[in-house]
Each structure stands twice: as C-alpha cells, then as structure tokens.
C-alpha cells in the first residue's frame, strides 16, 4: 500500500508541482516584460503578434533551462532596457539609486555634528 502511494506521488504529484513552478516562473517573466508595440501592457496582458512571438521564444528558452538573467540579457540586447519593467542597475542610473542614501548619510552627519556642538555647549 505504502509503495503504491509513493509511486502515485512520484508519477503524478511531483511532476505536477514542477510544471506549476515552471508556469509560475514563465508568467513572472512575462509580467516583467513590456509589450513594445502596445500601450503600457506587459507581455502577459497582450495578445499582439509581437507579444505572442516573444512568449514563444521565452518559453523555448525556459525549456532549454536558461536562467532569468540569460533571458533578460537576450531581450535587452535586442530591444534595450526599456523592454523590462524592472530595469537592471546600470552606471547611468547608479547615482539615481545612490542619491537617497548619500542624502541620508549627509543628513545624519550634519545632525550628528550639530548634536555634538549642542552637547559641548
């Protein structure tokens, strides 16, 4: 009885779980890709020729066990960073990301200096 249960588990349940995880990964990738010929839609929301073709290409890459990073690299090489809703960190935008942190550190430094000055008095 126990063996039959284990066989059922291996034959049906585990492949189903793996397929679900793969489908979820696929949808997450589609959601992060902009349909460049549509108005503000992701690949997941669009059925345009461009979106359908791109989905097929991505699906093939997932089957070929390419990582998300490799898939995004393939797309940005051909369509630029704009194709991603969540663009990668680049030199051009690095300062933009670092600016709030620099401001916070600067602010804390000024605050600390003033605090020390007031405490000395």
């Amino acid at each position: 009885m126990r063996n039959i249960f284990l066989i059922i588990l291996f034959v049906f349940f585990i492949p189903a779980q793996l397929a679900m995880a793969s489908a979820e990964r696929e949808i997450n990738i589609y959601k992060n890709i902009r349909c460049l010929v549509c108005q503000g839609q992701s690949l997941n929301d669009s059925n345009s020729d461009f979106a359908v073709d791109l989905k097929k290409v991505i699906k093939k890459k997932i089957i070929n066990k390419e990582t998300d990073k490799e898939i995004y690299k393939y797309l940005t090489e051909r369509y630029g960073d704009w194709i991603l809703f969540d663009p990668p960190l680049k030199k051009k935008t690095l300062l933009l990301w670092a600016l709030p942190l620099i401001t916070l550190i600067g602010g804390l430094f000024i605050l600390g200096k003033r605090l020390v000055f007031h405490l000395k008095q």
Partner: protein, 171 residues
C-alpha cells in the same frame, strides 16, 4: 571669504539633484528601435519559402559589400505599399526576404502578382527569426554590411525618402 548662505546652498543642492534625476531618468524612459544599429546581425538560418531543402545562413561575411533584409507578409497592407520600392532596390542591392507568419500559397501569389524583389526568401513561420534579429513587426528593413554589422534599420513601410537614404548608404 564670505560663507555661502543656507539658501544658496539649498538651491545648489536642489539643482544638482534635479539635474541628476533628469538625466538618469531620461536615459531609460523611452523605447529605442535602433538598439541593434551598428551591432552584428545575430546568426539566423532561413529556410526557403519555395523549397524547404534550401537554406540560407545570415550574416554573410566578406561576400557582398551590402545586402538588405526585409521582413514582409502577403497579409500586411504596408508591405504591399512598399513593394514597388523593393522592386526598385533589387537592381542595386541583394535583398533577403523574411516571410513572416504567412501561407506559402498566399506569399507566392503575392510575389507572382507584384514581382519578386528577393534574392532569397526564407520563411519565418512562428516569428522567432524576426525576434532573433530584434524586429518589432512588419514591414521592417535592415541594411547589413560585409562585416555583418546592421548599418541601417527602418521600422515600417519604405518610402521615397528612405529609398534615397538607402541608395545613398550603399552607393
């Protein structure tokens, strides 16, 4: 020397912040269809529309000084509009056609009726070849040089202005 006032310091910091935000955000907030320009054409293999045993690999290195790639389909209205320009260009440059998601009978009927400007026509049944070279849709035209670099790209139907530009490039 006079110490800078708090207001001038605040204004300077605000201006610096504005400039950084403006340029950093501007750099990433629009679509650039020419991203493949001056980059090597990705390797593709075209299967002939008329004879599936015939294959054509692109890019061709050190063969022709320039060649043209055009993505088209018989069901695409703008492709019909630009066809006369392709017919004019075929005497100046080799044209490789990529027939996008089309039926063989419709595509051949289209070429029989309007003329065949293509040196070789490959079939792209699922649109994957077009994605491989960074296309957005049809029609789309690329000029590739002998080193395999995409030196010109046009999204949309060819017109007289683009015809003159291509003629100038390949002169």
């Amino acid at each position: 020397m006079k110490k800078p006032s708090k207001i001038s310091l605040l204004v300077s910091v605000t201006v610096i912040f504005f400039v950084i935000f403006y340029y950093s955000l501007k750099a990433n907030n629009k679509n650039n269809p020419n991203i493949m320009l001056n980059k090597p054409l990705p390797a593709i293999e075209l299967t002939s529309l008329v004879n599936t045993n015939l294959k054509q690999e692109l890019p061709l290195i050190n063969r022709d000084k320039y060649y043209l790639i055009n993505i088209w389909s018989s069901w695409c209205v703008p492709c019909r509009e630009e066809h006369s320009i392709l017919m004019k260009l075929k005497d100046k440059i080799k044209i490789y056609g990529i027939n996008y998601k089309d039926k063989k009978t419709n595509a051949t009927a289209f070429l029989n009726k309007l003329g065949n400007p293509f040196y070789f026509t490959g079939s792209d049944k699922d649109g994957s070849i077009s994605i491989e070279i960074g296309a957005y849709g049809i029609p789309e035209t690329y000029v590739v040089n002998s080193q395999g670099l995409i030196i010109f790209k046009h999204v949309g139907p060819l017109n007289k202005k683009i015809y003159l530009r291509i003629s100038e490039i390949i002169k």
